[in-house]
Point group: C2
Chain length 425, copies 2
């Protein structure tokens, strides 16, 4: 299949785009992309590819931008219930950490998740996944973490694998048993750390071998390193135990307080360090000297009505690899749209549209270790791409609150997104 | 047709909702709405309406919220071209007023609009209108103002009437010849004021009688009262001339500087005063003692990456009638989604979800003088309503960046909005 006549094809080839090199889109004007089965086989000008492949079935992308599918490298996609009432409470002045300390926040979602069957969890999560895909996310990371007990955490893993199998959107799964101290261990958090290290992690490793034998890599293991969650020492203990078992690592660092999580990520060669709002200059320097991807989640301060965002410019000056994600979750940021994350990154983190695009494609692919097959339009990569109903790439960032995707192509299959409506009666 | 079994029907009956009374949704749990032709004929519980109308064709709204169609009372919907490049310039540090002073901003859109044919203007605007409708806006105000010369301003009026006729979304038209000083009059702005008062306004009045004889009311006349646009005296001159001709009035007041536009609106009994970011306590008091609707446009500071929003709480304390709008325009806020405006109003203006909903329905209808037929679900009103795929109203505000509408019903006709995707190949 030949997608041709695109106003712009954004290739994003090469990468990761480090520091100030972020934003190289590799634009081909009047571009074309040739797909065969599930792969990209050629990328070039429309003239050149139409000449070379005259009889190919075609998709006319005139007036549109063609780019790699968006990659969302940090989501808490699966949960039971909602926190709409808590949202109202926050508008009345309670802080997120106050609510967490009072047994609300994450713990209220944990209650709703523990009591939900796997069928119910899948049914509640499916519309979110569908909404993500319609907004152009072709691959997303998805974490467990609203179980905080062995059986529920495994149920969440199982549900995520089922959703991955049924949906065109691909999931990169993360085990986040260390999302909060389980309520049963409130007065003895160290016991919960022990449970994670000595029971949960070995069990997940075994379970994965049995339930996901066709997935060559273990899931990521992540820790919420924060006051009222896991301190630096506990985070280190958990991540070291995970590393010893062969899990690739992620960390929630410096969302509300600087505990040193970002430098811990570098020390342990984590794949990514995420949030990074209160990160110190020293930590930023360490990230810049590492291959740990710095994942900014601007939807979270936005969702909380806060003014402080990840210091993206400092991270780029320090030569870090910057990626964007939604953080989609029921407490602070219920949004499925990477496009919105990009619009925020431009306005509140000072990225250009080109930088936001690179941070949401090739660099985001690096943040989940899939850059070998997704994140750019290059021969041999998976045919995951978007046709946007915009005449040039800067409309991403410039426009906000709506969905600019016209068609999503996933593993070579074309899905149309209806931006409009149809009359039914 | 009977829409039944809704988790919540939000009636918004009565109104306008003044001051601290804002946010009375008139909720009916397990509610139903009966439609006949283009009107609402009954609103009540599902049990009661199913008993009374057992043979009615039905729409099952189980698990959903049913509410009045959203009303967007301030948009610059029609324009040529885009300002994506200028957006990048702003990210590099130039202010909106700097760009305006340098001949960019509104004037660059004026150039693109003047050179576009009416067919091209309609074709460029149609997708925006469609996107608004898909996001639940069933009636929108739409301004001219990118012509700034008689012929182009009339072409914009004509295009807006054509779009109103072809689209299920209804438009309330506003003449905004006073959007900026036309470039030809840069060195002699008073001459442009004279042109508006002595030529444009009388001509628009005549033109309207010929081209829109079935529309009983004249369009609104609006002025951008701001430094580098029209000062207070010029604004007054234009609005008084318009009032003498029978036009209902609107004003852009206090977006960047306080020039006194809000109190002028009150003095002239304008239908609304819009923006109101830099409004003084004295002006707020005057608004609170008037029937002039205070229209907040939170997408504009958001779009500009600014932190100061309309002081909604002060306006409510002063007993003002508060409404929300998108301000959809190519310079500062290209968004078609009233849902996003509501999400911002909760986080950045301190409204509760219920207040944001009332400000986007019944109060917004008052801001365009259509509350007699839209803005609430009451017998006798037009059948403009939404079915949202959410279990309770607070999801509006709580969730952001996506579209929560499942079906739009306009004048009794049902349109489905596709939140997902469908496989085409």
């Amino acid at each position: 299949m030949l997608i041709h006549s695109a106003a712009q094809v954004l290739t994003l080839k090469g990468g990761p785009q480090r520091g100030k090199d972020l934003g190289d889109l590799g634009i081909i004007e009047n571009g074309a992309v040739l797909l065969r089965e599930e792969k990209i086989t050629a990328v070039g000008s429309t003239a050149e590819l139409q000449d070379a492949f005259p009889d190919e079935p075609d998709v006319d992308a005139a007036g549109c931008v063609v780019m790699p599918g968006l990659v969302d490298p940090h989501t808490h996609l699966i949960w039971g219930g909602d926190r709409a009432a808590e949202f109202e409470t926050r508008l009345e002045g309670k802080s997120y950490l106050d609510i967490l300390a009072a047994g609300g926040g994450i713990i209220s979602t944990v209650r709703a998740t523990r009591t939900a069957s796997i069928e119910s969890l899948i049914a509640q999560t499916r519309p979110r996944l569908l909404r993500m895909f319609a907004h152009g996310t072709t691959t997303a990371e998805a974490k467990t973490g609203y179980g905080l007990q062995t059986a529920t955490e495994l149920r969440l893993l199982k549900a995520l694998l089922a959703l991955d199998d049924e949906s065109p959107l691909e999931l990169a799964v993360t085990f986040l048993g260390a999302h909060a101290i389980a309520p049963e261990y409130k007065d003895n958090p160290q016991e919960y750390v022990k449970l994670i290290c000595e029971t949960m992690l070995p069990l997940v490793q075994l379970w994965w071998g049995v339930h996901a034998p066709h997935r060559k890599n273990l899931p990521f293991v992540d820790v919420f390193c924060e006051n009222n969650a896991f301190n630096l020492e506990q985070s280190k203990e958990i991540l070291e135990a995970a590393k010893a078992l062969g899990f690739p690592l992620k960390i929630h660092a410096d969302e509300f307080e600087n505990l040193g999580g970002a430098s811990l990520a570098v020390e342990l060669e984590a794949v990514s360090a995420d949030h990074l709002v209160k990160t110190s200059d020293e930590d930023i320097k360490n990230l810049g000297n590492s291959d740990t991807v710095a994942v900014a989640l601007p939807c979270t301060p936005f969702g909380l009505g806060e003014c402080e965002y990840t210091p993206a410019k400092k991270l780029l000056e320090a030569n870090a690899i910057l990626a964007l994600a939604t953080d989609c979750n029921p407490g602070t940021a219920w949004t499925e749209s990477m496009q919105f994350s990009m619009a925020l990154a431009c306005r509140n983190m000072g990225l250009t549209p080109a930088q936001a695009i690179a941070a949401s494609t090739i660099n985001a692919a690096h943040a989940i270790r899939r850059a070998d097959r997704i994140g750019s339009l290059e021969p041999g990569k998976q045919a995951d791409l978007l046709i946007l109903s915009v005449p040039e790439y800067r409309h991403l960032g410039y426009r906000f609150g709506t969905n600019l995707v016209k068609q999503v192509i996933k593993r070579g299959r074309v899905y149309s997104v209806d931006v409009g409506y149809y009359r039914t009666a």
